[in-house]
């Protein structure tokens, strides 16, 4: 038993301080206002302070910290993308994640499990090789493996998928991991708070004050805050915020649903994703199977659950694991995914001076949390986006230079 | 043109059994799957019958209704409804301007319409179709449908002459409820290439309910 737990056993008062201060009222102005107290916004606040010494920062959260997609995703972290720019970006994220528990001094349960993207068709196999080759090129450990290797890692998997969709092979991505999603938000919040950033929960931004094309401040449910720099990091709420500054983007909102089973003794060690069966699954450190599927097929701005989702998902789960018939689903939920046409994010500066966008995270935002925070902090600090996120700029659509992650991201959370 | 016998769209689903076959309208068709007692029991409990061999004629376009009337067909007055001609032929109005006509086993209406002059009107297109047509009967038929279809297909919900285009077992299909030999039955049409799947799916459930496949002679005197 680690010694640091002993202090809890032998202290009279609870020895752990607050993660983040309970602040009453925001100041009149800040150097930077971050809209959205999810992983991305909090990470940006953290890196603004840590990397750039910018600490006069407010993070405004409409609900509670990490209550949006940060706390709703299925916590998979990976970097096996399709385009070199995508792989580079997510790889940088994985590298930060690997040391993040230590850096934030909070156990994020960053658990390296290995990630299999199962291929049931020849064309899926081709895409796997494409991704493997690009990954290798960038220095990321991904390779195409055959059914034998999948069976070795997961002997319980029915490789024929009940005869409906036999598995031909997979893309194996060794660094694939899962983490405690809430912990990531809390850890960044604590880190940002300790360096001086101020976090306000239950604080809604109702408008953005733009004067002569430049950001001048934000209107909030707790009054007006003057600032020259605003970062929007609000995932499924992006269109509402960009509307405040009259900015058009390609983002549309589709719900993404997930569910968990009752806890059982861990048996599934890898993360499995099947594009053909629209399933991804891992087993958490609590013993629950955490499962998700593809996006809901139409636009809805709510987190309601649907029965068709869980019917479809369970049917495909049984194809893969027929013995789960009597294992029970405890809970299902949904997040709102901000989707772009090319399945890549939109990051960086915008035509509105001082308005920075961290959006379009669709179904892949959690895994990018550290690197998006870092690169957005850099963008804000220098008023210039780093090269790493150039391909994700908003103007790529006007330039007909889409990024093309669709092949890797469709069901690849 | 020479006469050849055509296989039913469900032929593939029949390949491992040897029912009693017959020929109707040039199509090989199952006359019966078992003895009279079994056939009768299945028909009354939950019987699935392949009637793909019935003659069909389909036409669509803005002038389709007018043309059918010119050809002495009484057409259903509203979209998504059906009626029965004196000859016993069914006239299904699919949406507004598309019609599917199906003869009784020995009916001649479709053959006549096939060769009737269509030049007089524009906006008239003959539709080539290859349906699997099924006839579902028995006291448990709604149990079967409630597992395959989300709609309320009971008599009180459907009314007299409603026609519904919906999904059955995930496949687009057309359904009506009619009375045949004074028994309520459901009729279903879907694309013939789904025939074997639809047949197998329905049969599996029918058998679970204690019913099964029945041949054409269970419903028609031939």
């Amino acid at each position: 038993m680690p010694l640091r737990l002993l202090k809890f056993a032998f202290s009279k008062n609870h020895p752990a301080p607050r993660f983040f201060r309970a602040l009453e009222q925001p100041k009149k102005s800040y150097d930077v206002v971050i809209i959205g107290g999810g992983g991305h916004g909090l990470a940006a606040a953290y890196y603004l302070a840590k990397d750039h010494g910018i600490t006069n920062v407010a993070v405004l959260e409409r609900g509670y910290i990490g209550g949006g997609n940060t706390g709703r995703n299925t916590t998979i972290v990976r970097s096996n993308y399709l385009t070199p720019e995508g792989v580079n970006f997510y790889d940088a994220s994985v590298k930060i994640y690997e040391g993040l528990s230590e850096e934030l001094d909070l156990n994020l349960f960053y658990s390296n499990r290995g990630h299999f993207t199962l291929a049931h068709t020849e064309s899926a196999m081709r895409t796997m090789r494409w991704r493997a080759e690009v990954n290798k090129h960038v220095g990321v450990e991904s390779r195409v493996v055959g059914p034998d290797e999948i069976a070795k890692a997961c002997p319980q998997l029915d490789l024929s998928c009940s005869g409906h969709a036999p598995i031909l092979g997979a893309l194996y991505h060794a660094p694939g991991s899962i983490a405690r999603h809430d912990g990531v938000a809390w850890g960044y919040a604590r880190g940002a708070d300790r360096q001086g950033a101020e976090i306000f929960q239950n604080t809604e931004v109702t408008g953005i004050d733009v004067q002569s094309g430049k950001v001048a401040g934000v209107h909030t449910s707790r009054g007006y805050i003057a600032t020259k720099k605003v970062l929007s990091a609000v995932a499924g709420f992006t269109p509402r915020v960009t509307k405040m500054v009259d900015l058009d983007t390609p983002i549309v909102i589709h719900p993404l649903q997930a569910c968990v089973t009752e806890p059982m003794k861990p048996w599934l060690n890898s993360i499995l994703v099947s594009g053909s069966l629209h399933v991804y699954v891992s087993q958490s450190s609590r013993g629950e199977l955490v499962m998700g599927s593809s996006l809901d097929p139409y636009e809805v701005h709510s987190t309601r659950s649907s029965l068709d989702f869980v019917e479809g998902l369970t049917s495909h789960m049984l194809d893969m694991f027929p013995f789960l018939s009597n294992v029970k689903i405890v809970r299902q939920w949904a997040g709102m995914a901000d989707m772009t046409p090319d399945f890549a994010p939109i990051m960086g500066k915008t035509p509105v001076e001082g308005f920075y966008l961290d959006a379009g995270w669709g179904t892949w935002g959690f895994k990018a949390t550290p690197i998006s925070g870092k690169t957005m902090a850099e963008t804000i600090a220098n008023d210039r986006a780093p090269e790493m996120i150039h391909s994700f700029r908003l103007s790529r659509f006007e330039d007909y230079e889409l990024t093309g992650e669709k092949g890797a991201a469709s069901v690849g959370h | 043109m020479q006469m050849i016998s055509k296989p039913t769209p469900i032929a593939y689903a029949l390949k491992d059994i040897s029912p009693k076959m017959g020929l109707l309208n040039g199509m090989d068709v199952v006359m019966s799957f078992g003895d009279d007692v079994t056939e009768s029991k299945n028909r009354q409990l939950l019987g699935i019958c392949d009637v793909s061999c019935l003659s069909r004629f389909a036409i669509k376009g803005p002038s389709a209704a007018q043309w059918l009337e010119l050809n002495k067909i009484k057409i259903p007055p509203t979209a998504n409804s059906w009626n029965q001609q004196k000859s016993g032929a069914l006239v299904l109005r699919l949406g507004n301007s598309e019609f599917l006509i199906e003869d009784q086993p020995e009916g001649k209406l479709c053959a006549a319409l096939n060769v009737a002059d269509r030049k007089a009107l524009t906006g008239l297109y003959k539709v080539e179709r290859s349906d699997v047509a099924l006839l579902l009967s028995g006291s448990q038929v709604l149990s079967l449908l409630s597992e395959l279809c989300t709609l309320d297909l009971r008599e009180k919900a459907l009314g007299e002459n409603a026609l519904v285009m919906t999904q059955v077992a995930g496949i687009s299909a057309t359904i009506i409820r009619q009375s045949l030999n004074n028994e309520p039955v459901y009729r279903l049409w879907c694309d013939g290439t789904y025939g074997a799947f639809m047949w197998d799916t329905m049969l599996e459930i029918a058998v679970e309910h204690g019913g099964g496949a029945v041949g054409l002679s269970s419903h028609y005197k031939l």
Binding site: F19, G66, S123, V310, F323, S325 | E128
Partner: protein
Amino acid sequence: MSNRIGKKPGEWINREATLKFSYEGKDFTAYEGDTISSALWAAGERVLGRSFKYHRPRGVLSSANHDVNVMMTDGIDTNMRGDVVAVRDGMKLEAVNTVGGVKADRNRFVDSISPLLPVGFYYKAFHTPRRFFPFWEKMIRKAAGLGIVNFNFPRVLKRKTTTHCDLLVIGAGPAGLTAALVGADAGLEVTLVDENQYAGGSLTYDRAGASEAASKLSELIGRVKTHQGISLHTASYAAGYYTDHLIPIVGENGITKVRAKAVIVATGVFEQPPVFRYNDLPGVMLGSSAQRLIHRYAVKPFHTGIVVTANHHGYRVALDLLQAGVKVSALIDMRELGEVSVLEEDVVRKGVVVHKGCCVYEALPSKGQMGVAGAVICTYDEATNQANPSNSFTLECDGIAMSAGWAPAAALLYQAGTQMRYDDTTQQFVPAKLPQGVFTAGKVNGAFALEQRLQDGERAGNEVLRYLGKSAPEVNVERHAGSSPSHPYPIVPHPKAKNFVDFDEDIQVKDFVNAAKEGFDNIELMKRFTTVGMGPSQGKHSNMNAIRILGKIRGLPVEKIGTTTARPFFHPTPIGHLAGRGFHPHRLTPMHGWHEEAGAEFTEVGAWLRAAYYHKPDISKQEVIQEEALSVRQSVGIIDGGSLGKFEVHCAEAAEYLERFYAGKFASQAVGETRYALMLDESGVVVDDGVVARLAQDVFYITVSTSNAAAVYREMQRWLQIWKLQIGLINVTGAYGLINVAGPNARAVVGKLAKHSLADSDLPKGGIRETEIAGIAVRLVRVGFVSNLAYEIHVPAGSAVHVWNALMDAGANFGIRPFGTDAQRLLRLEMGNHLVGHDTDGLTNPYEIGAEWAISMDKPFFVGQRSLKIIAKRPVKKRLVHFMLEEGFSGEMPFECNLVMIQDEIKGRVTSISFTRSANRVIGFAYVDPKDVDPGSKFQIRTDSGAIVVATVVKAPFVKLERGA
């Protein structure tokens, strides 16, 4: 020692049928109808399971499907809930999540080190230094989870049906039964569901030692059961509320998806445990649980018990206990004033000592904490919520019944979008604003007295009638009167803790206090940090107390704290039930049976099954594919192409329509001619390609690729509406079979059967004729996709097999051979034809694949044209070329999607590659740098192992095209 008591009216057990089973290696008997817990409890077993985190012994808590510490395995199934799963004869049960048995569980040491495991402990340790984490993680994963999954558990297919009704009533307690009767009497079709084995709700167990409830129950049940308009389903729970009144009802044999016009939620309440030290010991149970054991299973909950209460209900429990022969040594009422009603008089008259303003300070464990030995009682100050142990006294007992209040079973209401408010008179959340078509009745609505619940059911039933457009009276329901059914703060602090709030996750009061100290003082954050309510019971017995505790910590009223979001499912629901039968629709061409007999290996293309190749004994798949392709090159092959999308476009404006829809020109197309057609989307991306044939001035016939057919047809229909052209569009995909006969002898074979001459002059390349083959009217197209000479025969589906067989016969002399999609892909590659979707991806534009020839920028408009004008101004980044490897190439064979490199930069990728025996070369398609596109240019492919293979750009086709070949 049997705790079974004499027959109770309406008991759920069948004393005629005795069942044998074992638990933890010991044999037991049960009556049919017993749950595992009731049978074991009747036999005197007290330790029915161990808790998840601290491995503390646990017994009966609710008997209402949230005793999640009592999870069993029978060696086949796991996580079986003892409080609801019925005993079956011969069961061999063991508690899950123990090491060495439930009594000797070696993991029980965790309880003694619990101070080392503060709230959220796992966030606080194990992560430094990083290299040790995997070790700790292994330990934690070992400790995690409940039961062990049986990997041989059979796949169970349950039936899922859809049913429709006017009114769905959820909960067959007095309110639900009454509401159902009101609806049905007015002619509604009513479905009534209840999760219990029998209908009746609390009338089946909450009797207060009297017979009034039982007779009310039989009266209501009698009417419901004989009512034509009510369909009653017991042992079936409403698992969730989904949009537009869709409610899945889960029963043992499957799910019924009920679609109702209106829904009445009469789900009642969950009894909530008061919180005191050792409130988790086996023998400490909810009052309603004690009543369930008595009246449903005729089991005495304990011999000498005390009742701790803070409401009216505790007195009713005491009376039931007395009636069952339990010695009730005291009734501890946390309220200063106690119960001022006849109930108190009754209890006192029966010899029970009532201690008002007192609480159970702690329960005293028997040896090994396997049961209760007594309780420490002291005064409790309701104003400060503090106990005063200085004046405590001890009572001996072997059980404690707890009745301190309730929480509404409102999960479905929350899911439906109901706004709830906190009602001070009942100290309970009740509905404030209900969504359209959703109604509530009974305790969930804050109506507690029986008379009131009956009234509320009547009111709700009548409201539904009015909602559905029938006239019905307004029924007034008396407000709750008298003392509150729930105590506002039934939580007793204790310096030594182990006063449990959440039994699923072993969460104690101090955990909430400490979580708040760390900043997690918002209900959602607190839930996530402490994991309260996240266990299998989903907070049914813990959320309400958690809210009360947080309110206390923050000094806020409960209403301000709010609740966490309730999500489906109401009870955990089996995967097999949700999955159901599962349909996998597939389409077969008319020749499917023929292919199968010929040894075809099938591949799925969209919904279709297509022959990929035909097995030949002792020959590898690769060899077979080469042979099939060679037979086309050298003589003649035949392939079933029936899955291609096939559409007809009729009417005078058809050409205009196609000009707009496709990138090429069709107005000038001659009758009897076919043209290649490229389909773009509005952003200029290549979506599909196909062939447009002109059958008449006003009739076109189009084929499109199999996998895109449905989507292309949809887009055709949409543009048709937008452009408002007079078009008749017909999808004949399934109505026509398609047979392709290819190879130098194709003309000879097809010619034998064709009514018309196939001479070049009569049917040139790219021509289409309506003619007869083997006596069948067909559309015959001279194509050149896989071979320079080939015929596509489009034949009505019913006659396709006949024509296929005729062609096989006609080709016998030429050695005609069927070929599959694999050979087809090789053949088209040899011909130099790219495949959309194979050689293109979701962002490919026509310039990148050299398809400039297929787009007519001089047309006034086509879909994608405007974007192409923008794209054309930008440099092309990559281009698709044909390539060959050197003759006799013997290096590492590149695969499709190996990368094309210049130095260390990715320039493109191989999209198609294959060895072809016809050309005796490795040939393919690849995207390369635009400067490398001229024939003869060399470029580099990097193989899987990293080796570099040099390829040469060539002109297609790859095969020497003999005259007519």
